[in-house]
Subunit: 176 residues, 2 copies
DNA sequence: TCACGTGATGTTATAATATAACAATATGTG
DNA sequence: CACATATTGTTATATTATAACATCACGTGA
């Protein structure tokens, strides 16, 4: 993949008050355009619109919510429109699907060839994307021990982010 | 069929020709009964039937396939019947849901309090359940590095099992 | 025993998620 | 421009899951 920078889209993971989300989206858009150009794919109007909607927040978005949002921006929007476009964006590595949530999320580490791995806060719904490195070693060990060759994976960790741990200190009432 | 193994459900992971699946199911049933008794829950006819159907193969089963199979054994079977029963079995830790497949699988490690983690062969569909241990350290490291407290997780690794790596040329002709 | 409360199951309806199949349109290339 | 192909529009339907309420079954205490 592109080696221009080894950094994530800048600021995309710093969701504090200083996070400049307009800039964040703009960078993501620039990146998407470049990825498509380099892959000989067209970053059409529809694809850009869906991409922008996915990036509107740093939270997973449901396909049918995208559908509604998209329908307010253009006509002739049907489920297939959204799913096809999401499929395209996923194929370009620009968007991930969260299997546990049936939802989609803009990729925060687009510079590296990777699969998404996620920390999902059960309280505030914020999702943080991890680099694969964290699990590399465990996965290698599992492959070795089990004679299994891993080709792709779904890793989604649910829990409490730092902020929500602070807010919910003490026993969590939602626990079983 | 009537020989007893002293090991919990350990035979269930040896899916070779020596795997005694009748015994495997029988053990799983015994275990399920015990879990329910100990938890003050009833292992009713319906629950037993669904449990047996989930255990019929060591492969993930779709809810609506269970529905059909169940409908051939009793009357008055509707989606809610199956989903409610699966929810119950999951709550007892007797069955896992595979998020990436929208499918369900009998738990192979019922003796330990755990969450399921899976190796899923893309060729033969066989699923192997892992113990959490394999990922413990990585998860602890992620929690530490990210200030995140993990409470539950979905870990599903897709690839090729040992047999299918060896056989590996094109799709398995015995598959549907 | 039997009425009662609760948990389990039956039943109907509908929500939420996703894909198939084909038609129409747009785009780049010769 | 004409053509081939990618993209999008359109209609229909498949798949997965839950809501809401009725009925049944089981254990408990009067």
């Amino acid at each position: 993949m592109n080696e221009r920078s080894s950094k994530s889209l800048s600021g995309s993971l710093a969701f504090g008050s200083e996070h400049n989300h307009s800039l964040c989206i703009e960078e993501a858009l620039d990146h998407a355009k470049r990825v498509c150009e380099e892959g000989g794919e067209r970053f059409t109007n529809l694809r850009r619109q869906v991409f922008e909607l996915v990036w509107a927040e740093h939270k997973p978005v449901k396909a049918y919510d995208l559908l509604s949002a998209l329908a307010s921006k253009r006509s002739g929007v049907a489920p297939a429109t959204v799913y096809r476009t999401l499929d395209f964006l996923q194929a370009q590595g620009l968007v991930h699907r969260l299997e546990s949530l049936n939802a989609y999320l803009g990729c925060s580490h687009p510079e590296t060839d990777h699969q998404g791995h996620f920390l999902i806060c059960e309280n505030c719904e914020e999702v943080r994307e991890l680099e694969l490195g964290a699990f590399m070693q465990s996965i290698a060990a599992v492959e070795d021990a089990q004679d299994f060759r891993v080709r792709r994976m779904t890793i989604e960790l649910f829990g409490l982010c730092k902020r929500c741990q602070a807010a919910n200190s003490g026993p969590d009432p939602t626990l079983p």
